[in-house]
Symmetry: C2
Subunit: 407 residues, 2 copies
C-alpha cells in the first residue's frame, strides 16, 4: 500500500473544482464540484440523527434506489437542514442544473451541504456556482485541493489523502477529502467525507466495505458529542483501474478494505486533531476488554468527557476523571482491575495499576501530555477485545468559536 | 408550605458545624459535621457510576443494612475515590472516631467526601476535625451555613434551603444543604446533598419519597455530562415534629413528598445555575411528548449539548443546534412537528413552528437570551407528557477551572 500526498483527483477519471460563489462572506471558497468521466457505483453512510438535512435525504435516495452516480455538488456556509420542503426542492434543483451542465442524469448527482442549520440555501448562487465550476473541472492535484478547501467551515486545515494498492495486477487508487470541525460525533459517519476510487467493485461489495470501515474510523471520532444533521460519507467507484471486478469477500476485497481503512483512519484523525479550538489530538485505546462493544463504549465515554478534555488542554494527568468516565459509561467491567498508561512522542508512563495510583512522576506525565498528539491506554485485563477512539481537547477557543458561530 | 432562609439546622433537633482542618489550602472551610440529638431513619440515593468512592460504599452499607443514623461527617478537597482498601478503612476510622466523640454507634455515622479523585484522605486531619467540630455543634442558622460552606469545592455560592409544611396538625420542617459545580450529571443523585427533617416517617416511606423526588430533580441536572464517583443524597428524619408517623402513601405522605420536591427542585436549580464557570441557568422543558421517558431523553440531550451550551453563553438563538440535539437523542418523535420557544424575564418568543424557522426578531431573541435565567420550551405536539431539565452555559471559565483544577 502506498500513501500519496493527494486527494479526490488521485484516482483515474475523477475531476474536481472549488471556488467562491458568495454563500460565505469574504470571498472564501464555499462550493465544490466533483465529477467522474464515467458513471460510478456509489456507497454511502449517513447521519443517525432523525433530523436529517435535505441533502442527506436526497443522497439516500440516490445511494439506495438508483443505479449510478457521477457527480457531487457540495456547498459550505449553509447546511440546508431544518428547511422543510423548500430545502428538498433546492436539492432537486441543484441536481437538475448540474445534470444539464454536465450532461448526465439528474439522479446521478449527489448533493451535500454544511454550515448553519435552519437557513434556506441561496439556490441562485448554487446554480451560478455549478455553471462557474463545471468548466474548471480538472484531475490536477490543485483542483482536488481547491475542492477540499471549499467544503471547510470552521476547519483550520484542508483534509485530503490518497492511497494506492495493487489488486489483481492493477494499481487501484482511493482518494478522499473530508471536512469536520464542530458538531462532530458521528453515529453513522462524519460530517462530510467524499471518497473516489478507480477500483472495479460491485455496488453491494462497495457498500459492505464502506460500512465495515466507517464504524471503526469516523464513528470513533468525537469533537463535541453532537451528532450532526448532515453527516455523510460517499464513496464513488468508477472501475477505470481495470482490476478484475470485486464481487465477493475474497482476497482482493480484503486488500480494498485495508486501503479504505487506511484512508479513513487518517481522515478520522485529521478531523479529531482539527476539532474546533483544539490544540491536541487525543487518542483513547481500550485493551483487554471482554468484547468489542464494551471497548467501544468505554473509549467513547472517555473521549467525550468535558472534564477529561479540559484536563488534556491543561496537560494535567487527572486520571481520576478517566476512571470516572469509564465508570459511568454503562459498560460493565471490573472497577478494581484497570491499568492506565499515558503515551506520546515524549514517552510512555503507567500511572495506575488495579485502579489505584502508582508512584509516578507528575513532571513526566505533564511532559507526555504536552505533546500535540497524546494517547491514553486503559487495560481492563479481562479479555482480548480492543477499540480506539479519537478526539481533542476542550479549549477557550472551542467556546469562542461556538459562542459566536453564526455571527 | 412555607419557604425559609435556612438550611440543615432548620428542623428540630439537628445541629451542624463547619470549619477548616487543612485539607484544602488557604485556611478555607473544608469539613462539616451534622448531628441529630436523637437517632434518625435514613434514606439515600447514590451514584450509578460503577467506580464508587469509598464513602459511597460505606453509606450504602448504613442506609441499606442498618437501623438508624445520627451523624454525617463530610470533607471537601479530596474525594476518597479510587483509593482501594485504604480508602475504605479511612471511612471506618472516621466513623469510629465520630462515634466515640458523639457517643453514638459507629454504624450510625455517615461519611461523605468531595474533591480530587485518587488521593488518599488525610485521616489525621479528619480525626482532628471531628474533635474540633463536635464542641461547635449548634442548631443556629450560622452553624448550618458554616457547614454548607465547608462542603463546597468549585462552588461559588453555598446552597441551602428549608421549607415547612403542616402535617397532621404539626409543623414538619425539611432543611437541606448541597454542593455541586463540576462533574455534575447525576444519574442517581447529585454530587452531595444532605437533607434533614423532623417529620416522623417510616424508613420505607422515607426511601420511597426520596427516590421519587430525586429522579425529577437532581437527576435532571447537568453541568458537564460527567456522572461523579461520589454522588450522594442523604435524608435523615428524626421524628421530633411529633406528627402522626407516615407509614403509607396517604395524604400526609403526599404533603411530605411535595415539600421534599420543593426543596430539591430549588437545590437542583442552584446546582445548575452555579455550574463551573456558568453565567446562565439554562432550563429545558419538553412538552407534548408521548410519554415521560421520551420527554426526559430529549430534555437531557438538549441540556448536555456543548454546542447549545456555548450558544447560550453567546446569547445566540442558534435553534438549529437544539433541533439537532433532539434528533440525535435516541428518542423517537416526529421531526417535522416541533415548535420551539425561548423564554426569560425579558419575554417569550416562538422561533420555530413545525421544525422550520418563523419570521422572528433576532434582536428580541438575543434580549431574551441575555438574562441570567433562560428557558427553552419545545412542544412535540404528540401527547401530554413533559419533563424539565436544568443546566448551564459552557464558558471560558469552565475551561479555565477544569484545565487547572488539581493545581
Amino acid at each position: 500500500m502506498k500513501k500519496m500526498d493527494s486527494g479526490v483527483t488521485a484516482a483515474i477519471g475523477f475531476q474536481a473544482a472549488g471556488g467562491s460563489v458568495g454563500i460565505k462572506q469574504g470571498n472564501v471558497k464555499d462550493m465544490a464540484l466533483l465529477y467522474s468521466i464515467v458513471p460510478c457505483v456509489v456507497a454511502g453512510t449517513f447521519t443517525s440523527n432523525i433530523i436529517k438535512a435535505a441533502p442527506v435525504k436526497w443522497d439516500q435516495h440516490i445511494v439506495y434506489d438508483c443505479e449510478a452516480a457521477q457527480s457531487v455538488v457540495c456547498n459550505s456556509g449553509v447546511a440546508n437542514a431544518c428547511t422543510g420542503e423548500e430545502g428538498y426542492r433546492c436539492c432537486m434543483e441543484t441536481a437538475k442544473i448540474a445534470a444539464e451542465v454536465l450532461k448526465i442524469p439528474e439522479d446521478s448527482v449527489l448533493v451535500a451541504s454544511t454550515g448553519v442549520i435552519g437557513q434556506q440555501i441561496p439556490i441562485d448562487k448554487i446554480i451560478e456556482g455549478i455553471r462557474m465550476l463545471a468548466p474548471l473541472l480538472s484531475n490536477s492535484r490543485e483542483a482536488g485541493s481547491s475542492a477540499a478547501q471549499a467544503i471547510m467551515t470552521t476547519d483550520t486545515r484542508q483534509k485530503e489523502i490518497a492511497v494506492s494498492v495493487e489488486i489483481g495486477g492493477k494499481i487501484v487508487t482511493i482518494g478522499a477529502m473530508c471536512k469536520g470541525s464542530g458538531m462532530i460525533y458521528p453515529n453513522m459517519c462524519t460530517m462530510l467525507s467524499f471518497l473516489t476510487t478507480d477500483g472495479d467493485i460491485s455496488k453491494a461489495m462497495l457498500q459492505e466495505a464502506l460500512s465495515e470501515v466507517v464504524k471503526d474510523t469516523y464513528n470513533m471520532v468525537s469533537v463535541d458529542g453532537d451528532t450532526s444533521t448532515n453527516d455523510t460519507v460517499l464513496l464513488l467507484a468508477n472501475g477505470l483501474a481495470g482490476n478484475p471486478m470485486i464481487t465477493k469477500k475474497d482476497r482482493d476485497y480484503q486488500k480494498f478494505v485495508d486501503a479504505l481503512y487506511e484512508v479513513n483512519t487518517i481522515l478520522a484523525k485529521k478531523i479529531a486533531g482539527d476539532g474546533e479550538g483544539a490544540t491536541t489530538l487525543f487518542e483513547v485505546k481500550i485493551i483487554g476488554a471482554q468484547d468489542r462493544e464494551q471497548a467501544v463504549v468505554l473509549a467513547k465515554s472517555v473521549i467525550t468527557s468535558n472534564l477529561i478534555k479540559t484536563a488534556i488542554f491543561g496537560h494535567d494527568a487527572n486520571w481520576g476523571r478517566i476512571l470516572c468516565a469509564m465508570g459511568y459509561s454503562g459498560a460493565k467491567f471490573d472497577p478494581e482491575k484497570v491499568d492506565l498508561y499515558l503515551e506520546s512522542s515524549a514517552g510512555r508512563l503507567q500511572i495506575i495499576k488495579n485502579s489505584v495510583a502508582i508512584d509516578y512522576s507528575e513532571e513526566e506525565a505533564t511532559a507526555i501530555l504536552s505533546e500535540p498528539e497524546v494517547k491514553v491506554l486503559a487495560d481492563l485485563k479481562q479479555g482480548k477485545a480492543e477499540a480506539t477512539a479519537w478526539g481533542c481537547d476542550l479549549t477557550y477557543d472551542y467556546v469562542k468559536i461556538n459562542a459566536a458561530y453564526r455571527s
